[in-house]
Amino acid sequence: MNLFNLFGKKTFPKGIHPEGFKEETHDHQARRLPFAHQIILPLSQNIGKPAIPIVHIGQQVQRGEVIAKADGFMSVPLHASVSGSIKKIDLVPNARGNKEQAIIINTALSSAQTHIIGSSNDFASMSRKDLIQAVQNTGMVGLGGASFPTHVKMNIPDDCDIHTILINGCECEPFLTTDHRIMLEQIEFLIHGIYIAMKAVNAPKAIIGVEDNKLNVLEAIQPHLPADGSISIEAVVTKYPQGAEKMLVYSLLGMEIPSGKLPSSIGVAIFNVATLAAIGELLPHSQGLIERIVTITGDDLNKPGNYMVPLGTPLSHILEYAEFTGNEAELVLGGPMMGMPAGFLDTPVKKGTGAVLVLNKRATKHDDILPCIKCTQCLQVCPINLNPSELGMLATKRRYDVMEENYHLNDCFECGCCSYVCPSNIPLVQYFRIAKTLNHERHIMETN
């Protein structure tokens, strides 16, 4: 039983209350970003296998055309986000600094850029299997940032009976307002997408969870909900990381996802609002995912806001359009708590990129790392109830095995609350990522 809910407010224990920084963009209706001259579409935009190119150099492609097909079930196809000609299929640096295969398209500037419309799908008359196939054909992945193929998530194992779908509209990361805009501007697509998801996972009920800093969303969506009560919308407390799967399940349903298991093991499926809105828009006409709303915000920008950005648009184009005026910056893909750093200006926007955050030097001052003084702040914010203080000390001693076996390292989902509150500036979650990676490598070596 979730004790917090007895007092009327739906939430989870612990977590943090970072400043929102959302005012700059949350009233900013999504505007279309002009096409860049060149579009870079990495073949791997999802967890699982990269797509396989089916185009050749010099080939003319139309906006929305499939240019790479899915490689098996754990993969999704890739669609051209502009009309133009294939320039090359080559290795490009990705955000992390290593290289990956990408299809590069020269935009046809004179083209009308019409989005291809495919055959009509009526989800109500489709079988679940066909529906899941149709979802895969849209190239859809979790747009909240995890990039997990949506059709795989919908392919619930036979022994699981889904009783509720949760639609995640928390958007608990500071700065981000894309989900907020989607829930105001694409309500019909969103509701349609929810029906598709309910059909696909065979769930009788859906709850949209929205943080209570977006109450205008509740007002906007309420009139569109069906009278039978199968879809409802609920406010949850504004607190980071409310939008994490594990936390939202607890806040809305009072349930815990067992360690190491998927939400389906307790009869729940969770989708991001952006994902379902995109499915609701694309699936009825068999279209592919070629663009998404991205919050462009941060320091030294004259035109921050929400933009409809074609996938593959390089950051340099975005910064130019948002009128970046600084000469030094850190570029973050996603929010400031869990986002990924981008080290190159030709890094493209991918399917999972919900925001481009520009931070200047002032915001990202480096401080000395001091010894842990056991102030217990990290224990008081860890939503999973881990002991980050002890884990951090073990990490500095390189006792990664003990971290995993005795201190439940793998239950950490890297929300970063511990690092956020540490007075000694210990990069706790950063240590944990390294520890997990090294443990992973060790396990592979041991099994071989």
Binding site: P18, E19, G97, Y250, E256, I257, P258, S259, G260, K261, F324, G326, N327, E328, A329, E330, L331, V332, G335, P336, M337, M338, G339, M340, P341, A342, G343, F344, L345, L357, K361, A363, D367, L370, P371, I373, K374, C375, T376, Q377, L379, P383, I384, N385, L386, N387, S389, Y407, H408, D411, G416, S419, Y420, V421, C422, P423, S424, N425, V429, R433
Partner: protein
Amino acid sequence: MAIQPKIGIRTSPYIHKAPTVAEIMRNVVYALLPLAAYAVYQFGISALVLMIITVLSCITTEHIFCKLADKKTTITDASAIITGLLLAMTLPPGFPLWMGAVAGFSAIAMGKTLFGGIGFNVFNPALVGRAFVQAAFPVSITTWTPTLAVDRFVQFIPSSLALPFMKPVETAEWTTQVAIDGFSGATPLALMKFQQIFTDSYDLFIGFSAGSTGETSSLLILICGAYLVFKKMLDWRIPAAVILGTVIAAECFYLLDATKYPSPAFMVFSGGLMFAAVFMASDMVASPVTPVGIFVFGVLVGFLTVIIRLFGGLTEAVMYAILFGNAATPLIESYTQPHIYGRNK
């Protein structure tokens, strides 16, 4: 893009909001200052100079040890100042100044730097220093002088200026001269233990009784502690648990025999328990970090304090209780790891 910006790389999280260690330590110093001022008001220049001496001794020791270890000096984080102030406040106001310097040295040298400096000390350094001088100078550390002596702002308590390694200066005569009304030189706890006299709890609470330099006014200590709790730099759970443990244990004995054993209120407001609960037991480094562990630690300290006070040979119970609790901290932590989300207990 016209200008190519320089791009920095780091991993998330990119935002950070926490007081720095130095800020926390500075605020603890601020919280101790009213207590120091009250001590000076009560005991005069002896208390003032004693505090200055211990603080200087702590800072100097830490600096020297950092230099010896070829490390960057850590005195700027103000934690040595806290140790010095805490230490002075647990010593009698007329404690010989040279012994105060020894106490400061041993607190930092044996209690802190030997373990690796801030963050690594197993015991509360101030208590290590006090335990050292308790063993080394048993007479001086149990020689108490009256509060509010008439010429306290112009004259040292005679024992303060004792020369190193000489026979301690006798203060009994001076005490009878300056005492306002028949002061016996005994603290409320000593009165309780050796003469079965229970001081009024209200006097103890406000702070008009004899005792160590900074621990006589429970009220003031609570106010200063509340400031730190408000600033989120003190974990209120530890003082609360210590007081709870003390009250429970004292209440048991009080119910058994109210004439022989003191009331829980007396136990809580006497002998520096409040000071120890708020400022000593709550030493972040040497106390457990787990939620249940914090509670266990506090109750254990309170319980041990009562037992040692009632059945031990000494009155300085709370010091040993906390040192014992510090020693038990790793054990307590290992048995009280919190329930992890998604895992059955």
